[in-house]
Amino acid sequence: MNMIEVKDLHFAYEDKEVLRDIDLTISDGEFVAIMGENGAGKTTLVKHFNGLLKPARGEVLIDGISTRKSTVAHLSRNVGLVFQNPDHQLFSETVFEEVAFSMRNLGYPEETIRKRVKFILETLDLGAYAEASPFMLSGGERKRVALASVLVSDPKHIILDEPTIGQDYQQKDRLRNFIIQMNSQGRTVVIVTHDIEFVVDCKPRVILVSKGSILADNSYDSILSDRELVEKASLVSPQIAALMSSLTNLNFSPKILDLYHAKSALEQRFGEIVHKAV
């Protein structure tokens, strides 16, 4: 069953074309990273997935239904879009109220809401803050509250817009584990990001967007190890890939992106030398 189908999408903003000839399909349960430089059109693209934007030309189908025939409120039952800046969402007196907001809008019964809110707060390590004011929390905690407030209704498909901005190493680590967990539980996860090392660690399918159109759509290792492609998209090569490609004349595969694969490959070669010397 196809979750998101985009057919011949064109979108313009104030007489300027922002998206052109977009065709893509994301299946249920996939893990996809939409990558590209700032201004490439990534956020504009994902805003079509929950109906915030409607195509000027072409079609976007969510679970078989065209977004033109639906409202954002209706689509948000199944498509949860987490925005980049949590401060653009927070407005409630308590964290509990904040997280309950979307389910109240969607008309769920109070009892269900209470259970779900409690659950998601525990899952995201925010249980202690249920009665706290969201404005009193630290930056990282506010980001988790914003995440909780979208995930509380347990949407089938989750989109995260630039989730790694301003996050430190540990926070990104936790985020990555959480995303992978959500995906392994059967949810479709789409992340919009330009954080290359983060994508290398997540290992998703990558859709590369540049200047409003799709440059490439493939597995992360095919795309991120392709130096020309990465340059064309105004991105930077992942460090391990750059290292490996600088050693190709020593017969190392340039397609190695993972830190531990690189270590193994190098150690294997070092081991051969030792054996030769012996």
């Binding site: 039952r77 925005f83 969402q89 927070l90 407005f91």
Partner: protein, 264 residues
Amino acid sequence: MSIRLFEGFKFKQKATLLHRMDPRPKFLIALTIFMLSLIFANFVVLLVLFISQLPLVYVSKSMRRWFGSMKGGVVLAAMIFIMNFLTGSTLVFSATMTLRFIVLVSAFSMFFMTTSPDDLGLALEKARLPYTLSFTFTTAVRLVPTIALEAQTIVDAQRSRGLELDRGSLIQRVRKYVPILIPLIVSAIRRSTELAEALESRAFGAVKNRQPLATLQMKPLDWAAAAIALAVLAAGIYVQIYVPIPSFDNGIRMPTLWGVPPGS
């Protein structure tokens, strides 16, 4: 009041004669038109005044938005007309008052569309307004697109959580704006702290006498325009006092329309 009314007062950078002019003579032109519209209560004169702006608007390449600003003010204009007519003024008089309002809006719309807020700020400075005030003005203008974009993002984020702004009773709809206003206000507070930090770091207010890099200089064209505006104003005053202009009022009043003879 439609958004088009505001569009008609927004500055857009273009390379026209009017855009290049110093803001002060432009303001004088707008003021002259305004004052002439007050001096004359004659429908035809006002119509001439209105039409005389068209070549200026054409030169400034802002026709569409200029007309848009008037379309946006239609509600107000209609109210003025109705209020005048219902309180006993003649049809023509009511139309004249309405036209006066339109002339006012159009004159100042043209001024704001062709004058950059930066130049306005400089003009205010030249007028000996304290720098902190003119700075507040230009910074406010500079922030308008930024805050507008943020408001849109907040609306998007809350709609993505199921908020439906276009449904419900009037009271319900007003309450639904709370999740929009609070993040906007909180963000504004945060923004002003960051702005203040940056201002301190750039020594804002350290010295009383600033020598701004950009200066306003009146060029021959500016002097000529100012002179013409003043001459037209003077001529208008002369005409109003000494030259009798026929009235085009046909005396139709509201009571007349209802069958009551005029004068009773």
